[in-house]
C-alpha cells in the first residue's frame, strides 16, 4: 500500500499550524480577559472550560490523522461506539441490549471493511446490517415496541456506523491527510462561525422550536465561511483533478456547510424530542461526544461520495488487504 509522509502536503502543514495558532491566540485572549477582569466570572470559566476541552479534543482528532490510516480507522470506530453509547442512553435504546449489540457489531464490521479496503463489503454492510437489525429481535416473540427499537437501531447504525465509517474508508487514500483535516476543522469551525455571527448580527431565530439559540444570520454567516473555506482548501488539495473547477469546489463547500448545520439541527431535534439539553457530560463546556461531533455525521458520507465521483478514493491502492481475494 502506498503511503505518503505526514507533512508531504502543504495543506496538512497549514491546517496544523493554523490550529495551533488559533489555540494560542484564544488562550491569550481569555488570559487577557482574566487578567483585566473583563466579562463575568461565569463567562471566563466557561471559556476556559471550552478551550481546555478543545486542547484535549484537537490532538485526539488530528493525532490519528497524522499518525496513519490504521489510527484513523481505530479512532473512527471508537468515536462511533462512543456516539452510539450516548445515543442509546438518551433514547432508551440501551434497554434493548440485543439491538444495541447488533449496532455495535455493525459499527465494528463496517470499519473492518474500511481497514480491509474492501469497498464491496463496505457498501453491502448497509443493507445487510439493516436486515440483521430487523431480524434480530423477532425470535424473542415480543412484537410490542418492535418498530421503535428497530428504527432506532437502524438510525444509530446509519449515523455512527455506515455514515462515520466513510472517514475510515477515506484513510485508504495515500493523500487522505489534508482531506480529513479539512473536514474535521471546517466542520468544527462552522459551529464557531454560527455562534459568532449569531452574536454579532443577531436577528430572527432560525428554527426556534428546534434550537432556540440559533439565528438565521448565524446560519448564513457560517454557511458562507464554511463554503468559501472548504472551496479554497479543496482547490489546493484537488488541483489538477476534474473537481478543481470553481462551481464544483463551491458546490463541495456548500455540501459540507449544509451537512454540518443539518447534523447539528438533527441532533437538536432528537434532544428536543426526548427533552434533554445535552447528550452527555464527558466534555466540559460542550456536553457529550455527540454534542461535539454531530456536524460530522452527515458530512462524512456526502463529502466521500462527492470526492469519489470526481477524483476517486484510493482507486490505485490494493484491495482486500486482510481477507485477500
Amino acid at each position: 500500500m502506498i503511503r505518503q509522509g505526514v507533512f508531504d502536503h502543504p495543506v496538512t502543514i497549514g491546517i496544523v499550524a493554523a490550529t495551533v495558532a488559533v489555540l494560542l491566540v484564544a488562550a491569550g485572549v481569555i488570559g487577557a480577559m482574566t487578567a483585566m477582569g473583563r466579562g463575568t466570572p461565569e463567562l471566563r470559566r466557561e471559556l476556559w472550560l471550552r478551550l481546555g476541552s478543545w486542547c484535549l479534543l484537537l490532538p485526539l482528532m488530528m493525532g490519528p490523522v497524522l499518525l496513519g490510516r490504521e489510527w484513523v480507522i481505530g479512532a473512527v470506530t471508537l468515536l462511533g461506539l462512543a456516539c452510539l453509547r450516548e445515543f442509546d442512553r438518551a433514547t432508551g435504546l440501551f434497554r434493548e441490549p440485543l439491538v444495541a449489540a447488533l449496532v455495535v457489531l455493525g459499527i465494528v464490521a463496517v470499519n473492518f471493511a474500511a481497514l480491509d479496503h474492501w469497498y464491496g463489503f463496505f457498501v453491502a454492510l448497509w443493507p445487510l446490517t439493516v436486515g440483521v437489525i430487523c431480524i434480530g429481535t423477532i425470535p424473542r416473540d415480543r412484537p410490542s415496541g418492535y418498530v421503535q427499537r428497530t428504527a432506532l437501531g437502524i438510525l444509530a447504525y446509519m449515523l455512527f456506523g455506515a455514515g462515520l465509517a466513510h472517514l475510515s474508508f477515506m484513510a485508504n487514500d495515500p493523500a487522505y491527510r489534508p482531506v480529513l483535516l479539512m473536514l474535521l476543522t471546517t466542520v468544527a469551525l462552522s459551529d464557531v462561525a454560527a455562534f459568532t455571527f449569531g452574536k454579532l448580527i443577531g436577528g430572527p431565530k432560525l428554527l426556534p422550536a428546534t434550537s432556540p439559540n440559533k439565528s438565521i444570520s448565524g446560519a448564513l454567516g457560517a454557511l458562507c465561511v464554511t463554503t468559501l473555506l472548504v472551496a479554497g482548501l479543496a482547490w489546493a488539495i484537488f488541483a489538477g483533478t476534474p473537481m478543481a473547477q470553481p462551481h464544483w469546489l463551491l458546490l463541495f463547500g456548500l455540501i459540507v456547510g449544509i451537512g454540518a448545520q443539518a447534523g447539528d439541527l438533527m441532533l437538536s431535534s432528537i434532544k428536543r424530542d426526548i427533552g434533554i439539553k445535552d447528550m452527555g457530560t464527558i466534555l466540559p463546556g460542550h456536553g457529550g461526544v455527540l454534542d461535539r461531533f454531530n456536524s460530522l455525521l452527515l458530512v462524512a458520507p456526502a463529502a466521500f461520495h462527492f470526492i469519489r465521483f470526481f477524483v476517486g478514493v484510493a482507486e490505485q491502492q490494493p484491495a482486500r488487504l486482510i481477507t485477500g481475494g
Binding site: G92, F94, A100, V104, S144, G145
Partner: protein, 235 residues
C-alpha cells in the same frame, strides 16, 4: 408499543456519581461484564463450595425481591449467581455503601460486575427508599436484600429490619425467602478471604404483600413474615 423514548434515569450524571447512584441503569457493557462475572462466580461456587440449590422453581419472573440470612460476603455472591436470564440481567444486590462504594475503584467493580446498588446504613433517606420502590415496580427489577442489615458476627440469624416492608408493602411484587447454609463457616465476617466449604441454598415459595398497608405497622408485619419464612427454610 411498550418502547418508551425516555433517557436513562442516570442521564446527565458525572461518571463517579453515576456509579453510586440508585438511578443507575445498566447498558450493554455492564450486562456483558456482569454476565462474565456470573459465569466466573458459578465456576468458583461449584468448584470450591460445591453449591447445591433447592427450590429454583420458586423463582417468579421479574420483578421480585430475594431475601436471605446474612453471615458472609458469600451470601450476595451465591444469590446473584443462581439468577438466570432476564432476572439475572435485572438483578441488583443492595450492598452496604460504606463497604462496597468507598472508593471509585470499588464502586466501579460493585456497579459493573456485581451490579450492586448502595444502601447507606443508618442514614438511608425516605427519598432513597422511594426511588428503590419505584424502580422495583416500574423497571421490573430484582433486588437481593439482607434484611438483618449486617452480617451476623456469630453466624446466628438476627431479627429482620422493616426496610423490606417499605419496598414491597402494598405492591404486587413478590418476596422470595432464601436460606443459605455453610457461608459463615466458609467465609465468616472475621476472615479476610474465603476457604473451601460446602454451600446449600434453599429457595422458598414467594410471599405477596399487596394487601399490607404501606406504613410503619405494615412494614414491620412484612419483616416479621419474611423472617419467619426464612427461618422455616432453615433445617
Amino acid at each position: 408499543m411498550d418502547f418508551r423514548l425516555r433517557p436513562a434515569r442516570d442521564h446527565g450524571m458525572e461518571a463517579a456519581d453515576r456509579l453510586r447512584s440508585l438511578s443507575r441503569e445498566r447498558g450493554l457493557g455492564s450486562i456483558l461484564l456482569g454476565g462474565a462475572w456470573r459465569r466466573v462466580l458459578r465456576g468458583y461456587l461449584a468448584l470450591f463450595h460445591r453449591l447445591r440449590v433447592e427450590g429454583r422453581e420458586n423463582l417468579p419472573p421479574p420483578p421480585f425481591v430475594l431475601v436471605a440470612n446474612h453471615a458472609s460476603h458469600l451470601d450476595a455472591l451465591v444469590l446473584s449467581a443462581v439468577l438466570r436470564g432476564e432476572a439475572a440481567r435485572r438483578g441488583h444486590a443492595l450492598a452496604a455503601g460504606d463497604t462496597f462504594f468507598g472508593s471509585t475503584l470499588s464502586s466501579a467493580f460493585a456497579a459493573y460486575a456485581v451490579n450492586a446498588l448502595p444502601v447507606w446504613r443508618k442514614r438511608t433517606r425516605a427519598s432513597e427508599i422511594a426511588t428503590l420502590r419505584e424502580r422495583l415496580v416500574e423497571d421490573g427489577l430484582v433486588y437481593i436484600l439482607f434484611p438483618e442489615g449486617t452480617r451476623a458476627r456469630d453466624g446466628v440469624m438476627a431479627a429482620f429490619q422493616p426496610g423490606i416492608g417499605a419496598l414491597v408493602a402494598g405492591t404486587e411484587v413478590p418476596v422470595v425467602p432464601c436460606f443459605l447454609d455453610g457461608a459463615f463457616a466458609a467465609w465468616p465476617p472475621q476472615a479476610r478471604f474465603p476457604k473451601p466449604g460446602r454451600l446449600r441454598l434453599w429457595i422458598g415459595a414467594p410471599l405477596r404483600f399487596a394487601d399490607v398497608p404501606a406504613g410503619r405497622a405494615g412494614w414491620e408485619a412484612v419483616a416479621v413474615r419474611c423472617e419467619a419464612a426464612v427461618r422455616a427454610l432453615a433445617r
